[in-house]
Amino acid sequence: MTAEMIVVGVFVVVAVAGAVMAVRSQQILHNIIGLGISLFGIAGLFLQLGSPFVAAMQVLIYIGGIVVAIVFAMMLSMAMTINPPARNLPKTIFAAIGSGLFFAGLVGLLSKTQFATRPTAGDEAWAVSRIGNALLEHYNLVFETLSVVLLLAIVGAILIARRDKTPA
């Protein structure tokens, strides 16, 4: 057992534990915290997979931005937080069966596929500047489209959440 394997194992456990907490809890805050923990684990795995930049972005944007926004939404729907509705057992079983089946199928597929592996590229290929270059050269369209999407999302979010004007 190398140190690397222990670290990877820790991150995996954190990710899975967080995910389980995120889907199991009755309290919404526990769900959110579980999501956060899981995201931390995944960020660690990104790090392990050779991309510190992406790991950093994950923590920054996902945990720092999205999870915080979700917390705000939770606070704004306080009544639901205080009195969470009870679990609906048939629905839970139904969802469990569906996900279970899907998981079984995925596992089966995984075990049957031969994945082609290549030797890992060198360090200079993993530089952040290469990401920047790729974004602005090869994937320029995607980049610009993403910015448009973000703009639309902002406008849409404002529109949807706007309070209706009361008649004067």
């Binding site: 969802a95 569906g98 089966g108």
Partner: protein
């Protein structure tokens, strides 16, 4: 004019009258009357002209072929047809003219006259038909016309029911006739009447005797229905619900005579089928006696005449069954005239006094209507068989035929029936002419239709009176037309007939001409009840057949409503219910929808991942 146009004029002129009146003239009843009268007059004229020109070859037109079978329609113009055609046309014209007066106040005159024209077309086409299938078609059409005319005042429930009853009972007979016609088809391969009657190539030569008996029996079933013989006779008294001219035309002279005419038309077949003739003889005798007993006690003048028609038709069939075509046809023709005469006279009484009851007519002063009374006396005398009126001669022929061919039992039965005929006829006459008391002229009640005896109604009565009186002298001509020899009779052979007539009239006078005007039957109340209820035959039919049919009909109705119709409805409801059930899938739960998608994809993934 050549034969073709004449015969077409005879048969189609009434149809034109019917079509024009029915289609166009509902608002002009007078014009409709004129049109129909013209049609009938044309028919009569052409029929007379044809009669004067004598028998000719039949006319045939090919209707259609079906494989080896050829169906024609056309006209047969031999002595019997020509003669009877004139009789039918004459009586129809008389009745139509009479109806002008009788139905003067009726609101639906156009329909009435149009229907009379329709009947005349059907009857004449039946008489002159050359093809057995054509005869059958017009036989049915005549029945249809009868239905319409009996139920003419259809708002009256009794009239509608009587029309239905008449149609259904004759229909029962018609089934037998149809089967008989079809058997003819199967054995002979064609329907052509001259061909069927041909002694060398016709049915008699070609089919086995058993088959011939079957065919003639089946045809006789039709005759039983149409000519109201026992056991299908109960419709005729009820048919008196129709207007009296209709009764005069259809139910005494022409339509019910169609059955007897058919037997005369197909006589060679019946001559050869001895078994059938025995059966016919028995049934006809029973009918003649049965109906005569029922006529003895009835108080309604039209019902008495109706029972009398049934009885006289029995006489005609007895004569034909005994083997004498001449006697049967002779009586057919004379009966047509005097029975129509009697009905028209009764119509005059009914029209004036607004009642059908014999005693009421007499007591209201029936005999003050002089011309009508004369007609009544002549017609009644002819019916009873008083010489020298026509009925006497035709009845004489019948007795002679029975005596020669059929033996004593039937002859005695016929004489008994003749005795009863004389009795009930003169009962009717005495009740009207010599009532117990007469109310004074001012209180004679009745309707104020102007003159009691308008000329439109009296003229036909007069014509028929003459016919009924002197018709007996035409015996030789009738026989000649039938290619037969009129038999001669000695005075001695006429005595039995004369004897029963005198006895009958005497008894009638004793009962009804003086004293209390009650019949001897009133001292035999059991018999009286039996006779007045028609020997309970109709009651029996109602209790058994009508109930049975109604039960069956409601059973089938239940099957249809709940089974067939209900089954289809349930299929529809079943679809609706299953749709209702499957609606719940559209619950609006997003997570449920998502779950279903995941389930399916998961199943596919498992299949691909684990299996495939």
């Amino acid at each position: 004019m050549d034969t073709t146009s004449l015969i077409l004029a005879t048969t189609f002129a009434p149809f034109v009258g019917f079509a024009v009146a029915m289609l166009f003239l509902h608002r002009s009843p007078r014009l409709a009357q004129a049109v129909v009268i013209t049609g009938a007059a044309v028919a009569l004229g052409s029929a007379v002209q044809l009669w004067l020109e004598g028998p000719v070859e039949p006319l045939r037109y090919l209707w259609f072929t079906s494989g080896a079978i050829e169906l024609h329609f056309g006209f047969l113009l031999d002595g019997l047809n020509l003669m009877f055609g004139v009789v039918v046309a004459l009586i129809t014209l008389c009745v139509i003219v009479y109806s002008v007066g009788y139905m003067a106040q009726d609101p639906s005159k156009t329909r009435y006259f149009a229907l009379l024209a329709f009947f005349e077309w059907a009857m004449l086409s039946f008489v002159y038909a050359v093809d057995l299938l054509q005869s059958f078609i017009f036989w049915e059409l005549v029945g249809l016309a009868s239905f319409f005319l009996i139920g003419f005042w259809y708002q009256k429930p009794s009239a509608a029911e009587a029309a239905r009853k008449a149609f259904l009972m004759t229909r029962i007979g018609d089934v037998g006739l149809l089967i008989g016609v079809l058997v003819v088809m199967m054995t002979a391969g064609h329907f052509d009447i001259p061909g069927l009657l041909d002694p060398e190539r016709g049915l008699v030569a070609r089919v086995a005797p058993a088959t011939l008996t079957a065919i003639t029996l089946l045809i006789f079933v039709g005759i039983v229905g149409k000519s109201a013989q026992f056991p299908l006779h109960t419709w005729l008294p009820d048919a008196m619900e129709g207007p009296t001219p209709v009764s005069a035309l259809l139910h005494s002279a022409t339509m019910v005579a169609a059955g007897v005419f058919l037997m005369a038309r197909l006589y060679p077949l019946f001559l050869a089928a001895e078994t059938t003739r025995c059966i016919i003889l028995v049934i006809a005798t029973v009918t003649a006696l049965l109906a005569a007993t029922m006529a003895m006690v009835d108080r309604d003048i039209k019902k008495v005449l109706a029972y009398s028609s049934i009885s006289q038709l029995g006489f005609m069939l007895m004569a034909l069954a005994a083997g004498s075509l001449f006697a049967g046809v002779f009586h057919l023709i004379t009966h047509a005239m005097f029975k129509a005469l009697l009905f028209l006279c009764s119509g005059l009484f009914i029209h004036h006094f607004a009642t059908n009851d014999l005693e009421q007519i007499g007591q209201a002063g029936g005999r003050r209507m002089k011309l009508t009374t004369i007609g009544l006396l002549v017609g009644g005398g002819a019916l009873a068989g008083v010489p020298p009126l026509s009925g006497f001669f035709s009845k004489e022929e019948i007795f002679a035929a029975l005596g020669h061919e059929s033996g004593t039992v039937f002859t005695i039965a016929a004489l008994a029936a003749a005795f009863l005929t004389a009795y009930y006829t003169f009962r009717m006459i005495f009740l009207i002419v010599l009532p117990a008391r007469i109310e004074p002229a001012a209180n004679s009640g009745g309707t104020d239709h102007g003159s009691a005896e308008p000329w439109t109604m009296v003229l036909p009565v007069a014509v028929l009176t003459v016919g009924a009186a002197v018709g007996g002298l035409w015996g030789h001509q009738i026989a000649a037309a039938l290619n037969l020899q009129a038999p001669t009779h000695t005075l001695g052979s006429m005595l039995p007939a004369l004897g029963v007539v005198v006895l009958g009239i005497a008894l009638a006078w004793v009962d009804f001409g003086r004293g209390e005007r009650v019949g001897f039957l009133s001292r035999l109340p059991a018999l009286q009840t039996l006779f007045s209820n028609g020997w309970y035959i109709d009651t029996f039919y109602r209790a058994v057949f009508v109930r049975l049919t109604n039960w069956l009909a409601s059973l089938l109705h239940g099957v249809e409503v709940k089974g067939l119709d209900g089954g289809f409805d349930q299929v529809g409801f079943g679809i609706l219910r299953s749709a209702d059930g499957s609606r719940s899938l559209q619950s609006g739960w997003v997570q449920f929808y998502g779950g279903c998608i995941v389930l399916v994809v998961g199943a596919i993934a498992v299949y691909v991942g684990m299996g495939g």
